[in-house]
Amino acid sequence: MSNLFVRKATGMVRSWSVFDAFVYAFFSINIVTLGFYSFSQMYFFSGGMVNALIVSAVFLIFEIIVYASLISVMPRSGGDYVWMTRIFGGGVGFILAITGWWFTLWLWTPVYGDMFRQVVMVPLLGVFGLKDAAVWFAGAGTPLFVSTLIALGFVALVIMLGMKTYARIQKFSFYAGMLGLLIVIVLLFTGSPEAFKAGYEKNATALFGAQAGAYDATVQAGIDAGAATPLTGGTFKLVLLTLPWLVFFNLWPNWGATLYGEVRGATDYKRNFSGMAAALGAVTVLGIVFFLGVSRTIGWDFYMQSNGAWWNSVWYGATVPLPVWPYPALLALFLTSNRLIQIVVVVLMSFWWFGWAGTLFLSSTRVIFAAAFDRLLPEKVAELSERGTPVNAMLLMVVPALLVSYLYAYNVGGFNSITLAATQGIAIMYFGTAIAAIVLPYKKKELFEASPIAQMKVFGIPLITVAGVIFASFLGFLLVEWLFDPWLNTGGEGAGLYGISFKNTNSIIFLGTCYALSAAIYYGFKSYRKRGGIDLDKVQAEIPVE
C-alpha cells in the first residue's frame, strides 16, 4: 500500500525487525535444551540423524506457511484458540487449545526442570568443584523434583517481571548462548579423538567422581543399552520413524508467532514466514554442524553410546560409568583442563535455558485469559495483582504442574515414560489448527479474499490449503506412529520406540483426563452462563450483515 494514501492513525506502526522475529523463533527450537536433550534420548533408532534433521525441516516449512498465513488472515487474534473457535465453533477450539496450551504445559514443567539441572545445575556444580552436589542433582526422584521447583520459581519470576523485561533477557541470552555454543563447536572441530578420550577419563573423574576406565566402561554400557542410531543413512522409512521423537525438538518455530502483529500486506506475510523459516533453517544447519563436530572429535559411536548408557540407567536402572547426563557442551569442555574456560562456557551455555524457559507458561496465560474473557472460566482467573501479575492464572498453571512434576520426578506408576505426550498434546492442537487452515478459504471466503494472502495459490488452490494438507498429513503420521508404535507389530518388549502408545495407560489416562477436563469446563460453564441469561453459542456467532 502506498504510504501516500495511508493517514497517520493510532496503531499504524512500521514493520518489526525480521532479525528479532528470527531470534525468538530460533530460541523456540532451542538446540541446546530441546535439541541436545532429545538427540540424546534417540540412541536406539536406525535412521540417520542428519537425514532426520533435513527431512523434518522440509515438513516443518509447511507448518510455518500455515501459521504465517493464519496470522496474515487473522492477526493478533490470540492464535490457535481463536482460529479454531472461529472456524469450527466454540467446543472443538476450546477443548483442543485449552488442552494443548494449558494442560499439556503441566507435563512440560518437569521436563523443563530436568533440562534445567542437566544444562545448568549439574555442569555448574561440577566445574565449580562441588562433585557430590553435582552427582546428587543428576539423580532420580528428589533431585529432579527440587530442580523442577527451582525452574518453576524462575518461570514465576518471569511472569512477575513481565514480557517487556524478559524479552530483553531473551535477546541478551541469544548472544551469550551463541557465544558459548561457538566455543563448544570450535572445541569440537579443533580437538582430536585421542585428546577427547584422555580428557574424558580425566574430567569424568575430577568433576564427577567417575572411576578409572570410564571411557571404555561407557562404550560397553552404551552397547548394552542398544545404542545404534547412525549419523547419516538409513532408508527413508527408517528416517521417517525417527521424526516422532525428533519433533520434540523442532516442532516449535511458531511458538511466539501470534505476537508478530498486524499484517498489512504480502510483504509482512513474507517477513513472518522469513523469520520462522530462517530460524528453522539456521537451527537445522547448526544441528548438522554440531553432529559433524561430535563425530570428528567425540566420535559418533561414543556419543550415542554415552547417551544410551545414561538413559538406560535413568529408564531401566542400569549402571552408568559417568554419573551425569552426557551434556555435549560438557563433553566438549573435557577437551580442556582449564577450569576458567570450563566455567565461562558452562555459564554462557546456561543462557540457552534461561532465555528460553521463561516462556513455559506464556501461551497458557494467554489462553486462560481468553477463555475467561469468553466467560468459559471465572472472571477471577484473569485478575491482575497491583503489580500487574496474573496471580490466579499463575496458580492454575503452577499448582497442577507441581502435582504432575511430583508424579514425573518420582516416576509414580511409570509416569516418566510419557515425556513425548507433552509433544503429542500440542501436536493434536496443531492438527486442529492445520484443518482450520485447510478449510479457511472456503468456510470464511470473504475474510480470506480480503486478506493479504488471497492471491497466493498453487495451481489455483490457496497456498494455505495446500500447506495445511501437507502439515496435517505430517501431524497425522506422527499421531499414528505415537499411538500405534511400530514396536507393537514386532511383539517386542519394553516401552516401544516412543513410549506413548495406547499400551501405555499413563499416557492415555493423562491425555484422556486433560481432554475430559477441558470438555467438562466448556460444557459446564456454557450451561452455567445460560442459566445466567448468556448464550455462549450466540456470543460467538456471526451477526447478520443485512
Binding site: 498489512r264 480480503a450 447478520p544
Partner: protein, 312 residues
C-alpha cells in the same frame, strides 16, 4: 434491567457498522454504544486503465478487475477492510504524489461520505424501533465527523456529555492521551483530567454510572500495546508489551468508582478487569476482518447482573 451492547474501533468497516446496527436485535440489547474511532485508515486508488479496466493494489497485491461485477466485488472487498476506494487515473495519481494536501482533502471527503452513508443507514435500519446509538468519536476521527453525527435521528453525539441510559448516567469522551501519531483528539494527562472532571462533577449517582471513555486506564491490562522505537517499529518482534493507557482516567475511576467503564483504542487489549469495584472492559477490535468484537452488559441498580465479550 438494561442491556447495552458496546463496540468500538470499527475504523470505516461497512460490515462492522451493519453488524453493529443489527446487534441490538441479535443480542437482545436495549441500547447501542459505539466507543469511537469510526473512520478508516487508508484510501485505495482504483486506477482507471481504459475501458472497464482498473488497477488496484490492496495489501500489496495487485488486482485488475475488467468487468462491472469484478469492480463491484473489489469495492466491497476494500470497504470490508475499512479502506476507502477512490476512482482515479494515472495522471491524477502523478499529480497527487506531488500534492499531499490534496490527498488529505480527498481522504476527508471519502471519510465524511462514508460517515454520512452510515448515519443514513442507521436512521433507516433503526426506524420504527426504540433503539438509539450513543456515539463519541475517537482520537482517530476528524472533527468534521461530529456535525454529520449531529444530523442523525438515531445516532446521538454524546462526546463530553452526561447522557441517561435507562436510569444509568453515562459520561463519554473519545479523547486520548498523547500518541506517537499526533491524531485528531489527543491531549496531555492534565487536560484529560480536567475533561473528565467537567463530566463527573455533574453525576448525581456516580457509583451507578457508566464511563464510556475511548482510551483505557493506565496499567489495567486493557492498554497493553507493542513497545515502539523512535521510528514506530515494534521492538523485539512485538514481544515487548507496555501499558499506554491514561493515568488521568485511572485516577478518575479509582476516585469515582463507577459501575462500569467501557474502552477501546488498543485493538489487541481485549479483556475485562476490575479497578476497585469498577468493571473495566475493552472488547478489542478486529475490524479488518469484518468481525465485530463487542460486549453485552446487563445493568441492574448499583450492580452488573452479567456481562460477556462477543465475537460477531
Amino acid at each position: 434491567m438494561t442491556t447495552i451492547f458496546f463496540a468500538t474501533d470499527i475504523h470505516g468497516s461497512d460490515i462492522c457498522w451493519s453488524k453493529f446496527l443489527n446487534a441490538g436485535k441479535f443480542y437482545g440489547a436495549d441500547k447501542l454504544v459505539l466507543g469511537g474511532d469510526m473512520t478508516g485508515k487508508a484510501v485505495i486508488p482504483f486506477i482507471h486503465q481504459g475501458g472497464k479496466n482498473y488497477r488496484i493494489t490492496l495489501l500489496e497485491q495487485v488486482f485488475e478487475p475488467s468487468t462491472d461485477e469484478e469492480l463491484a466485488d473489489m469495492t466491497k472487498r476494500v470497504r470490508s477492510r475499512g479502506y476507502y476506494p477512490y476512482m482515479t487515473n494515472p495522471d491524477e495519481i502523478t499529480e497527487l504524489e506531488k500534492d499531499p494536501e490534496r490527498v488529505s482533502k480527498i481522504f476527508l471527503a471519502e471519510v465524511l461520505k462514508v460517515v454520512q452513508q452510515w448515519m443514513d443507514l442507521a436512521d433507516k435500519k433503526l426506524d420504527g424501533t426504540d433503539m438509539q446509538v450513543y456515539c463519541s468519536p475517537g482520537n482517530d476521527d476528524m472533527d468534521e465527523v461530529d456535525d454529520i453525527i449531529r444530523s442523525s435521528k438515531r445516532v446521538l453525539l454524546v462526546e463530553g456529555k452526561v447522557s441517561s441510559l435507562d436510569g444509568h448516567e453515562m459520561i463519554a469522551s473519545g479523547w486520548s492521551n498523547i500518541t506517537p501519531w499526533a491524531t485528531h483528539r489527543e491531549e496531555d494527562e492534565d487536560q484529560l483530567a480536567v475533561r473528565y472532571e467537567a463530566m463527573t462533577r455533574q453525576l448525581k449517582d456516580p457509583h451507578n454510572s457508566i464511563f464510556n471513555i475511548h482510551v483505557p486506564p493506565y496499567k489495567s491490562g486493557l492498554d497493553e500495546a507493542p513497545e515502539l522505537d523512535k521510528d514506530l517499529r515494534p521492538v523485539l518482534a512485538g514481544n515487548s508489551m507496555i501499558p499506554v493507557g491514561s493515568k488521568a482516567l485511572r485516577t478518575a475511576i479509582e476516585r469515582i468508582q463507577p459501575l462500569i467503564s467501557l474502552h477501546g483504542h488498543i485493538h489487541e487489549g481485549r479483556g475485562a478487569t476490575r479497578i476497585g469495584k469498577t468493571l473495566c472492559i475493552n472488547p478489542g477490535s478486529m475490524y479488518e476482518q469484518g468481525t465485530l468484537l463487542g460486549a453485552i452488559v446487563k445493568l441492574g441498580k448499583n450492580k452488573i447482573e452479567n456481562y460477556v465479550l462477543t465475537t460477531g
